[in-house]
Homo-oligomer: 201 residues x 2
């Protein structure tokens, strides 16, 4: 549906390209924006420009940062022997929010997905191998999603890491029944993984 008002049509088009926003939501947002004070919208507009201008990848771990190194790489108190591998920078925030990991991170910026044309050269694998070899890493913790691509990437990384660095320890975060989770509502693949990875008490 076109509003026949160029600026409005253009805004709806750009908004509806954002993930999770359909055309209806984009229209609703555009109308809200028309009703909102000019100043608030010019601040939002500026925030979009600023985030693209100021935020970039950390050259070491590929986390987001607005400085030379990201907050984790720049923190001398972090345990450099322990390296947690994640798919994207957002995962770092989720793990940091759990406040139980004191090592460093490495963002792959993707997972292997042959069907989508994502092979080992399209993710930050060379950089990972270099870091493991040069930074004295003793254990790599794989924290990838528990789906097909995540599992395949974990397997590939394990083989490649062990092939390159003989005595490296590679672990994977535990998959199982969520804390507070009711067995009744847990799918059978999760339950099967939880049984397989049972822990002795």
């Amino acid at each position: 549906m076109s509003f026949k008002i160029d600026a409005l049509d253009r805004l709806v088009e750009h908004l509806s390209r954002l993930p999770g926003l359909g055309e209806k939501t984009a229209q609703r947002l555009a109308f809200h924006i028309l009703k909102t004070k000019d100043e608030a919208i010019s601040q939002l507009s500026q925030a979009l420009v600023d985030v693209k201008a100021q935020v970039h990848d950390c050259p070491v771990c590929f986390n987001y940062t607005d400085r030379e190194l990201c907050a984790v790489c720049d923190d001398a108190n972090r345990d450099g022997h322990l390296l947690c591998v994640v798919e994207d920078a957002g995962d770092i925030l989720r793990i940091e929010a759990a406040m139980s990991f004191k090592g460093r991170y490495h963002v792959l910026q993707g997972v292997l997905s042959p069907l989508d044309g994502v092979g080992p050269d399209q993710i930050r694998l060379v950089e990972l191998l270099n870091r493991v070899e040069n930074e004295g890493v003793r254990e790599v913790v794989l924290a990838l999603d528990a789906d097909l691509e995540g599992d395949a990437t974990s397997l590939y990384l394990t083989k490649t890491l062990k092939g390159r660095v003989g005595d490296i320890k590679v672990t994977r975060i535990a998959h199982g029944v969520p804390i507070g989770g009711n067995l009744e509502y847990v799918d059978h693949r999760t339950l099967s993984r939880a049984l397989e990875n049972r822990v002795e008490l």
Copy 2:
């Protein structure tokens, strides 16, 4: 959750002020924006500025426009005897999409809501009365929401219009069971209204 990256925190804050976007969605959008090409984001940023600079209220009917008059007011083929009253400009688009109304519109920019401090002076009532008196309007079609405020506003407008212009016809769009709607899923107030407004065949 703060990312400790000023530009990113600021963007999430501004995004989460938009209606229907919680903090989590705002974070997800911000990460998507970081991954999107600079050019696309600068276009979105510009679209926000443009829409505020170029789009304003039509001085006659208070629809949105980027010209002197809105597309409907500027269209000489519209029936000036028929005036449809809506709550906001978005409603015009929805009615236009139905393509069955050929009259003109008047946007109230709100409905009466004493609890929220919205009285007759806070909506475009004076402008409506002036138009009805000066534009030769014969019928006013009220197309307000079928809720408490909408119904109260419809009642108030009917009394005020009839008090001011003796021979004006005031109608209200029909409320009833939606086309394709199953009686099983229609609430009892809608059903009661549909019975009350039954049409002879």
